[in-house]
Every structure is written in structure tokens, then in C-alpha cells.
Amino acid sequence: MLKYLPYPISVLRLGASRQVFCTNKLNVHSKNCPNKLSFDCFKPKIFQRSFSSDECHSEDETTVPSNKTLDIKSITNGDPQLEHKFKVLLLETEVLRQEGCRIPSNDFLKEHHWKQLLQLDSKSARRKLLEFTFRVQKKRESQQLKKELKRKERGEKPLVPESQGALIYDLSHNSMLLRVYDSTIDNFHNWRALQASMFGQKIVIDCGYDTEMTVRENSNCAKQLMYVFSENRKHDDPFDVYFCNMKRDTILFDTLKKSIPTMDEPWFPMNVYECSYLDLFPKDKLVYLTPHCREVLYEYDHDAIYIIGAIVDKTNPEPLSLAKAKKEGLKMAKLPLDRYLQWSSGSGKSLAINHVINILLDIKTTGDWHYALQHVPTRKVEKVITKSSTKRFGGRLSFDKDSGLFEEKKEAFWKPKWLNKSKDSRMKSEENNTDVGRQINIKKILND
């Protein structure tokens, strides 16, 4: 519950004290230190008040010394114009704070925040970013509070009764149940990814669009790439994923590196290349998956090397991947979304990169688009255009033969039962390829 409350109320409930920062008059032109800006001039006064007490405190303003200094030179690279702009922004944030806007405290604003602020050239854009950062700050503070509260609730660790030489049988001591560590699971998944790099089908993620995206889009994209990696290696039969055109020192790379710090290690099963896919693979095998083309991917080709463009295009509607594929003379294809799904009105036909990789993973193993396209988010789909094969794998909708109506199933997502069955029965079900045979087969499964 606490998680969903905004900061002030949650603190109120906790009965903890609340602090409101307001700063003294600002001296942006500090004379003594031309390059280092001292934050001593922002010594925040803190109005402290506990909500439980009724009595009014007189203005008990305590000053907290803050020795934080920001290195202007590293933010502005010694550019006098930027330095001037930085000073202006500093004053702007301060006045916004005076107006009662939700602005994070100066301690919280780090170098990268200022760098990002310097790039924005409208007041509202900066205020939005500051407000967003404020939320982040408050969220972190309340998390910290919750953590401490939990620690208090938990109390001290119970003392282990001293045993005189004998073993203690307990979950955290000696037990026959082995603990499976996170690292063990990790190693297992990595092993799968390594196997795929030897025997699996290859797939390319084209990360060369970072210049076309905004900062926010770049970081969203990096997050999706992280999901691509993790969801791929979790799958029964993963792809051998190549991240191509990945330039170092871009926002995309840095953000991805933040979430996967080991991605550069030689032992890590992740292929990151700065070069293009054209240098790695024969051109005739490459197929660029782009939503803007006209060819539809009805038949999944197990020999082809599919390319997915790593673009988050919230602001830029241009067909970038189409242009690239056209320029390089590659084959193109798009997912058969229109054939199997009825798109609900108002939602764009764009999919996240991790959704696309999930779809491809499933189409590769099942060969059934109805099953694979379950990874399209439900909010985007009005209804599934059913065919008999949906019955086989259990789509989101099933066809009631008697009434002839589409009936929604409660479970939105479930694995086909035959996946759990032994290999023999799977072979059998594929032999009964006629519709009647299939129905009988389904009845059998249901009876089971």
C-alpha cells in the first residue's frame, strides 16, 4: 500500500518528521571560487515538524552545512557560454523552488542531471525533468524509510543457542535442502545462451539508431535491450543474439552497461559488435524486420538471419528501418499482425524490441503464429482472428462451435498442454493433421 502513496502522505502515516527545504538568498556569482561553485551559499534551512504533536514550533530553523561542491568545469567543459547558461539554470531552479514547485534538493542534483538540463532549451522541458527527478528523490527517500521501518520491525537477529559441539539442524544451518543461489540460476541461463551461440539460430539487433532517438527514448531502448538479453537466455531454445552497430560512448551503450555491468567481459554470453551485420553475415541470408514494408512474414525461415531495429520511436515517425534496408539492399519482412490479430483502435502498431524477440522465439519453437503473437500486449488487441490451430495451442479466445461465438478465456496466457507431454504424444498429434483428428485430439487432452 505504501508503495502507491505519494511521498507526503506516506510519511504522514509513518509519523515521521517531514522536512521542507528552502534556501537562503542565492549568490550565483561567488567571487572567491570562479570555477568551483560552492554550495555553501545554499545552506538549506530546515523547517522541522512532527505531525503527531499539536503544539506549534516556533521557527526552529536549523542550518545544515553542506560541503557539496559542483565542478562547473567538468559540466561545461570550460565553455564560457555554457557556464553562463549553467548559472542561469541554477538561479532558475532556485526560484522555482521558491515558488513551491516540486524541485529536488541541490544535494540530489548530480553532474549528469545538470548536463541534461543544459541540453534542454525550453523552460517547461526543464521543469518537467526537475519534477521527474523530484519524484525519484522522494521515492528513494521513502524506500529508505520503509527499509528502516522493516528493520526495526524485524528486530535483532535471534541468537544462535550455543551448541556444544553438535550440529544444529535448521534451514540456515545444516539441512538436507540445498539452497539454490541466484548465481546458480544465472549460470544455468548463461550456459543455455552459450549453447545457442554454438548451435542456435542467429539473430541480429541493429543498435545503430541512437542518434535518431532522444535521451529518454535511448534509455527506454537500453532497457528493452536488457530484456531482450534476459528473456532470450531464459527460453528453452534461445537465439544467438548479435548486438550490431553498437557504438561506444553513446547514451544507449552507457545505459545498457549500467543494467548489465558485465556485458564487456569475455566470458559473458553476449555478442556486442561495433561493426555492421553486413561485415558478419552473408547478405542473402539477412532479412530486415520492418513494419513499414509490404512483404509479410507468413512462413518462418529457420535458415534466415533476422534483423530487428532497436528503435523506440515515440517522437519520430519516420520509417528509418525501411530506409536502411532499402539503402543496403536487404530483404524485408513484417510480422503478420494483421492476419492474426485485430488491432484495437487508437493503439499504435509498434512493438517493444523484447516483445518482438519473444514472438520470434515462440514462432521458432512452435511454428504457430497464434501462439507466438500472444506476446503482443493485450491492450493493443481487440480480438484474435481465430483459426482451428488456436484450439491446438490455446489462444486468448476460443471458438464455441455450438453458439458460433467467440468466448473469452479467463486465463490470458497459458502454455499449450502438449509442451508438457512426452515427445511421442506430440508426434502423434502432428500426424492427425486433419481438423477432425485435431478435435478428437483436443478432447483427449481435455479429458486427460
Binding site: 502507491y4 502513496l5 505519494p6 507526503p8 502522505i9 517531514r18 521542507v20 528552502c22 538568498k25 542565492l26 550565483v28 556569482h29 523547517f47 515538524r49 506549534c56 514550533h57 557560454q81 553562463h84 547558461k85 548559472k87 542561469v88 539554470l89 538561479l91 532558475e92 532556485e94 526560484v95 521558491q98 515558488e99 513551491g100 514547485c101 516540486r102 532549451d121 525550453s122 523552460k123 513499414h292 514494408c293 509490404r294 519516420e318 520509417p319 528509418l320 525501411l322 530506409a323 536502411k324 532499402k326 539503402k327
Partner: protein
């Protein structure tokens, strides 16, 4: 859950933190969602109802009231109160509050100071009584205290200074603002108005130009100060020259004015003219008030050529040729245009085909063939632009189209609209373009304000929209208006297009209803003798 919602709404910019005061009221306000209603509904409750006659101790009690809750620093409360006075236009109340602050010896912060400056400026503009000494003192204080100013403060200072003798500083401040943000229309207008008032016409017009090129309209008091300056010191001849100069200047930009602007024009021009009134122009372009016929404004050859080149560069090629087409196709187009003569009509094949909705290829081909037939029978030279897949249409109609019109078909992966527009632009100035598309995405690609204006002008006067095709192939179009909506001089009469508040509201309620405003201001100068 109600707590959550209320805190959300109340955490608006000006009220952040004050809400603890209103936990009891919160149920009442839980239905309010927008910040605007919070500002309007909650603040009057914060302030006592007889605020108008409030004395000093009332202010103390109000501030104390907030202080008791201590959620927000007192300095912010001062800002909130001043902000409330500004937004509800109770300027005298704000001045009273400021007096109280001074008497009580409370030092306001920068946020409060700059809001008060804004209040003084608004007060001076509306009442005419100028608080020069106070403004100058406050501005001086601020500028001494801070060596750099943030954009909003600079703007408020510039606005306030515009009603004083130091208005020239505003221009410097505008440049200062431009480093970190775009100045608001209000600041620009304030400085421009100050320039006009101080007889610096050229400077004022330059600032007005800057506003217009940012795709905004100057506020009405800019025109007011322009006219009032004429009124105070000139003869009839001079006044007429000055007025015509303004109209000529504004005529370059195809603006549609607000009702307020039009009223200002009419009101001030009445003194110098035979008649000046707001009127209506009928469909064939005849003004009801002076029965003059309004004219078309065609592009000059140079403008036309310039538009053509800009279009090729920005729209078809753009950042990457491959986005919309490919280099081979572009070359094919150049070859095609070289070898062919100028066309009278350019038809957007696919737009015409789909104008009846998604139907069979038979229908598509029939529609295009009917349109082609209509023009061919009138002895026009016709070009149809489309995509290669159109070749698969039923042969009976397709053969007719191919025989009677020239074809330019692009790849299925390319966009046909840019080619269509380029072909039309490459023909003659008066070539007709048949398409229902508004071409907004292509307009957006043009870079400068000037280019956009030319393109709009050309499209508005050359585009025919297909309305209806009967079963026996008779075609009807929506023709462009026989006159163009921009400031124009017909003999001695100036016509200025405007949009009344009524029309604006109607448009807001019916966004899909395509209507041309027919409202004009008609200003008639006596014939020179």
C-alpha cells in the same frame, strides 16, 4: 484513496504543500481534477471573503494560518497570494499586500518580487496609470542583487520596464532570455508596444516580425500603441501613410487576426477614413460593406521557383533520400519532367481512388478514369501520379487512363505525395492539383516560415478537392475560393481577414468541420484628391 487523489490535485505548482490545511475540505474537492479548478476554487477559501477591505492584521492572520501548518515556507505563501491576485486580475489587492509586506518589514524573495513586477506591469497596461518609480526601483534592486537572471525573471523585468522610460533595456533582456528559452508572446508584445509608443517604428516592426516568424500572433495592444502614436502627432497624410505601412507589413504573413485586433483596427481607423467596419464577404468574394471584389494572390515567378527548389530539398530528399524514396527513382522523375511539357492538371491517383473508401479495384479505376475524363473533355493536359501496383487495375478503365493521361508511377515502397506536389510545382503557376489530402506532413518538412507561407498560399489556391462522382461518371469538385484570405488593398479599400470569437468557438467544438471564415474588416480611405 481519496487522500491520494486530493494530494495529487493540490500539488499544483502554486499550492504545493498548502493542502494539509484542507484535509477536511478534501472530500469536497476530490471531484476536482484539473489544477485550474483548484486554483479557482481553493484559493478564495484560503483568503477571507472580505479581502478587498482587509487591513494589515488580516494579512498577518492569513500568513499565520498557513504558518501554523508549516508545510510551506512563508515566502512561498507570499508568492501564492500574489499569483492569485494576478490570475484573478485583482491588481489593487496585490498592491495592498505588497504595502503590508513593506510595512511589516518582511523581505520578499525573488519569486515574489518578480511576480509583483508582473502585477505592476499588468496594472499599468490595463489601467493606464503607470507605476514608474516603483518599477524602476524594484528592477534596479533585482539587477543589483543578481548578476545573471533566469529567463522568467528577465521577462518580467522586461515587461515591467516596457512601461517606463528605460524600455530599451527590454531588448537586451530579450536577447538574454533567448540563451536559455524562447521569450513569451507577452514579453515580445510589451517591448514592441513600448517601441511604437516611443516612436521607434522600425524597431517595433522588427520585433513584431520576430513574433510572427515564431508562428505566434502579436497581442492587440501592440496595434493599439501603434495607432495611438499616430493619433497623437500627425496630419492626415502622415497617418494614412503610417496605417498603410502597417497593413502592407502584416500582409506579407497571411495572418488571420482575432476579433479584438480587428476591433482595434476599425476603432482607430475610423478617425481617418470614410468608413471602417466589420463585415462579411460572400462566396464569390464580394464585400458586403463596400461591394468591392476581393482578389487572388498568385505567387510571383521567383517565389514559385524558390518554393519548387525548397520543396525538392526539404521534402523529397530531407534527411535521408531512402526515407521516402530512392535515388534511382528521383533521377527517373528528373528525366520524366525534362522530357514532358507543362501540365494543366495533376491528379493524385490513389487519393482519388480511395476517396470513396476501400472498395474493389473496379471502383478505384472507375473513379480515376472519370476524373481523367472530366479534364480531358475540357482539353486539359493531365498527369496521374500513383504507385506501380495500380497497373493491376481492371484493363477497361486502366487503358483509358493510360491513353489519355501521362503517368508517373512510383515504387510501392515510396511515398507518392511528395512526387505529386513536385510534379505540380514543376508545371505552371496555375496548374490544378486534384487531391483531398491536406498535405500537412509535407508542410511541416519545410524549414522556414517563409517557405511554409508560400506553400500554403500555393496549395490554398490550386487544390481542387473531389467531392462526388455520379454513376455515369459526372464529377464535382470543391474549388478553391476565388479570393485569397490575406490583407489586401482593392482600390482604396483595405480588407483584413479576422476570425470572430463565435467562429473560433464553433471551430473548437466542431474540429472536423471545414469552414472558411468569411469575416473581414473593411477600411475605406477617401479617394485622393
Amino acid at each position: 484513496m481519496w487522500c491520494w487523489r486530493v494530494s495529487c490535485t493540490l500539488n499544483s505548482r502554486s499550492l504545493c504543500g498548502v493542502y494539509v490545511n484542507f484535509v477536511n475540505l478534501s472530500r469536497h474537492f476530490s471531484s476536482l481534477r484539473t489544477t485550474r479548478s483548484v486554483k479557482e476554487d481553493v484559493l478564495p477559501l484560503l483568503l477571507p471573503p472580505d479581502l478587498q477591505d482587509s487591513k494589515a492584521n488580516d494579512w498577518t492572520s492569513i500568513r499565520n494560518n498557513v504558518k501554523e501548518n508549516k508545510d510551506v515556507p512563508l515566502s512561498t505563501v507570499d508568492f501564492v497570494i500574489l499569483n492569485y491576485c494576478c490570475s484573478t486580475k485583482q491588481y489593487s489587492l496585490g498592491i495592498k499586500f505588497w504595502k503590508y509586506l513593506e510595512e511589516a518589514g518582511i523581505k520578499p524573495n525573488l519569486a515574489t518580487k518578480r511576480k509583483y513586477l508582473y502585477l505592476l506591469y499588468k496594472c499599468s497596461r490595463t489601467s493606464g496609470k503607470r507605476e514608474e518609480t516603483q518599477i524602476l526601483k524594484l528592477c534596479d534592486d533585482i539587477q543589483k542583487e543578481y548578476k545573471v537572471l533566469d529567463p522568467t525573471t528577465s521577462e518580467h523585468v522586461a515587461q515591467a520596464l516596457s512601461v517606463t522610460k528605460c524600455w530599451r533595456q527590454g531588448i537586451k533582456l530579450l536577447d538574454e532570455v533567448k540563451i536559455t528559452a524562447t521569450p513569451t508572446t507577452e514579453t515580445y508584445s510589451a517591448v514592441a508596444a513600448a517601441a511604437f509608443e516611443n516612436l521607434e517604428n522600425e524597431l517595433g516592426l522588427e520585433i513584431v516580425k520576430e513574433i510572427i516568424e515564431k508562428d505566434r500572433k502579436p497581442l492587440d495592444y501592440v496595434y493599439m500603441s501603434y495607432f495611438s502614436q499616430i493619433k497623437s502627432n500627425s496630419s492626415y497624410k502622415h497617418a494614412r501613410e503610417k496605417i498603410e505601412e502597417l497593413f502592407k507589413f502584416l500582409g506579407q504573413y497571411d495572418l488571420i487576426f482575432n476579433q479584438k485586433d480587428a476591433e482595434v483596427f476599425v476603432q482607430y481607423c475610423k478617425e481617418w477614413t470614410d468608413s471602417a467596419s466589420l463585415t462579411v464577404v460572400n462566396k464569390s468574394g464580394i464585400c458586403k460593406s463596400c461591394s468591392q471584389k476581393l482578389e487572388k494572390v498568385t505567387l510571383t515567378e521567383i517565389e514559385f521557383e524558390q518554393l519548387k527548389n525548397d520543396f525538392l530539398e526539404n521534402v523529397i530528399i530531407g534527411k535521408d533520400v531512402f526515407n521516402k524514396t530512392n535515388p534511382k527513382e528521383l533521377e527517373k522523375l528528373q528525366q520524366f519532367l525534362k522530357s514532358n511539357k507543362k501540365y494543366d492538371v495533376v491528379i493524385d491517383g490513389l487519393n482519388v481512388a480511395f476517396s470513396a473508401g476501400v472498395k474493389s479495384p473496379q471502383t478505384f479505376a472507375f473513379l480515376v478514369a472519370s476524373v481523367v475524363k472530366h479534364f480531358v473533355e475540357n482539353n486539359k493536359k493531365v498527369l496521374v501520379v500513383g504507385r506501380t501496383h495500380m497497373k493491376k487495375w481492371p484493363k477497361n478503365y486502366w487503358n483509358y487512363i493510360a491513353h489519355n493521361a501521362d503517368l508517373f508511377l512510383v515504387d510501392c515502397l515510396s511515398q507518392d505525395d511528395p512526387y505529386l506536389l513536385y510534379c505540380a510545382l514543376n508545371s505552371k503557376n496555375e496548374t490544378v492539383l486534384v487531391s483531398k489530402d491536406l498535405m500537412r506532413s509535407h508542410l511541416f518538412r519545410l524549414n522556414t516560415f517563409n517557405q511554409k507561407g508560400l506553400f500554403k498560399r500555393w496549395l490554398m489556391q490550386n487544390q481542387w478537392k473531389l467531392q462526388y462522382v455520379s454513376k455515369d461518371g459526372k464529377v464535382s469538385f470543391m474549388h478553391p475560393l476565388p479570393y485569397f484570405r490575406t490583407i489586401q488593398k482593392n482600390l482604396n479599400v483595405w480588407h483584413i481577414p479576422y476570425e470572430s470569437n463565435k467562429t473560433k468557438e464553433f471551430k473548437r467544438n466542431n474540429p472536423n468541420y471545414a469552414s472558411y471564415t468569411t469575416e473581414w474588416a473593411c477600411i475605406k480611405f477617401p479617394t485622393a484628391t
